[in-house]
């Protein structure tokens, strides 16, 4: 069903398939819909005085090491490899390339990795700072997850828009309640069915199953799940990071203790895909409220 939705969106030109499964271009109509969801998140971010930050789609690989991403999600992570040591090796490199097909042998992982979630570059930015009671950030960007698939809800490159709070436990708890209000309001405004449910991250391997159980036991992740005939798919999540991101960077709260952090993150393409799934292939036939939320002519 989800795979058929992807085929229909490609046939109708909203998504532009590429040679790699799970990597799509988008046409102007799809981008308009994505932009409307992003604008709605920005409005909510402004309500909590979030500071806007935007990062490019890659992050220092060291940051992924530092917060344990590579140990928890090696199956989803990537690194940007580059042609090592080009200086003074022109002749050798040119000769190798002209033999053809030897490009990959020249590559070594660089100090950069595709960004796995929009908020990862934020914590090094705050390293060593005192954030007082709490500060909020609005961040959005392309994220990479290595899971080639024909399911359009499993794109390898997609945009995530997050509102993040970093601060004291009390402030962050209040933010978590607000974050749930935001998620519920967004799905109401866009006329989309999404059910709140406790969830876990897709940790790797058998060790990962222990991490997932702990996440459930401590109630650290809640998702807003769109029901589909192939199973539910998360459109947004609300996450309590505790000190996972703040401790490695020495980010301090108002009380001098390590700050904690939390976020609400929306999968922008997924929200748009949910609208097509729930309301049909032609936005002209969507309910008026959904059309209004997406900035479409109503009727």
């Amino acid at each position: 069903m989800r795979q058929e939705l992807g085929q229909a969106l490609c046939r109708d030109g909203y998504l532009l398939p590429t040679a790699v499964a799970g990597v799509y271009g988008r046409d102007g109509r799809f981008e308009h819909l994505v932009g409307a969801v992003g604008a709605a998140v920005s409005v909510m971010a402004a309500e909590v005085d979030a500071t806007v930050v935007r990062y490019p789609p890659a992050v220092a690989a060291d940051e992924l090491h530092r917060v344990g991403y590579l140990r928890s999600f090696p199956h989803l992570a990537g690194a940007i490899s580059v042609c090592a040591d080009t200086t003074g090796r022109e002749t050798a490199i040119a000769a190798r390339l002209h033999r053809g097909g030897a490009w990959e042998e020249l590559l070594r992982p660089s100090d950069l990795a595709p960004c796995p979630a929009a908020c990862y570059p934020l914590y090094p930015h705050l390293a060593g700072r005192a954030v007082g009671g709490g500060k909020r950030y609005d961040t959005m960007g392309y994220c990479f997850r290595r899971e080639p698939s024909d399911d359009p809800f499993r794109m390898q490159l997609f945009r995530m828009h997050e509102i993040v709070c970093v601060g004291d436990r009390t402030t962050v708890d209040a933010f978590l309640a607000r974050a749930h209000d935001f998620a519920a309001r967004l799905f109401t405004d866009f006329g989309l069915a999404a059910t709140r449910a406790a969830a876990t991250d897709p940790f790797f391997g058998s060790g990962g199953r222990m991490l997932a159980r702990e996440q459930l036991d401590r109630d650290l992740k809640q998702e807003y799940v769109c029901p589909t005939p192939d199973g539910g798919v998360a459109l947004a999540s609300v996450n309590d990071h505790e000190t996972h991101f703040t401790r490695p960077y020495g980010i301090i709260g108002g009380d001098g203790a390590p700050a904690v952090s939390a976020c609400v993150g929306f999968g922008l393409e997924r929200v748009v895909l949910a609208a097509f799934l729930q309301h049909g292939p032609d936005p002209a036939d969507w309910p008026g409220g959904t059309q209004r939320a997406f900035g479409l002519p109503t009727g």
Copy 2:
């Protein structure tokens, strides 16, 4: 001078430095300025009925092979490496990661590469198609060039907004004239000094010097160059690709012959940086016309 501009923009919070040279976050004010330049390019694209397409920041690595990018620019190119063959190797991978620091050994180049220019994913999209007299496209996205530097004009990840024409020689020649009008108009509207000059791409090695000479001889590339005390820096370029991108993909013009293509591309961050360089560190002090073009309050 350019390096000092980068330091000033980091100090004033417009750019957010990261652990990797040439990779910056941007604050909301900087993003507003980038958005204004992009909107101006979109207006011009709409004037020539360009179809909007947007691609994520990675492209199938095969496409870079197919058009010779890796042979011409191995020093600037990247590939996305991923943890190979995770299935059934959980224990081995987990053990290796728990020893620490062995992440890179697990990586192999995947079928994806960071996109080196906004238009690269467009040509495979048009593969085998007949474009009639000519079609135009509006494309924008993050691009990667491996050149770590403290010069903010040499970001490793930056946005390029391109208007591309694919079609018959006559149509594309008319587009090239229009493209120069667009570039001249944009720099006039934004109140920026930029001088048109013949240019070459940064081809690799001694073979590359021959390619560059041919590019000059055939007058295939013109840049709009912002003068700086450290030398000129291109803010935009107008490029005649001839059949470089169309022949490998069998894109056919109205006459049944291989189509040709051309583009005008704007470096969105570079245009913003040029405004800071030419008009000073505080947008409140910029000339009224520049403020208006950037959508800032005037005066």
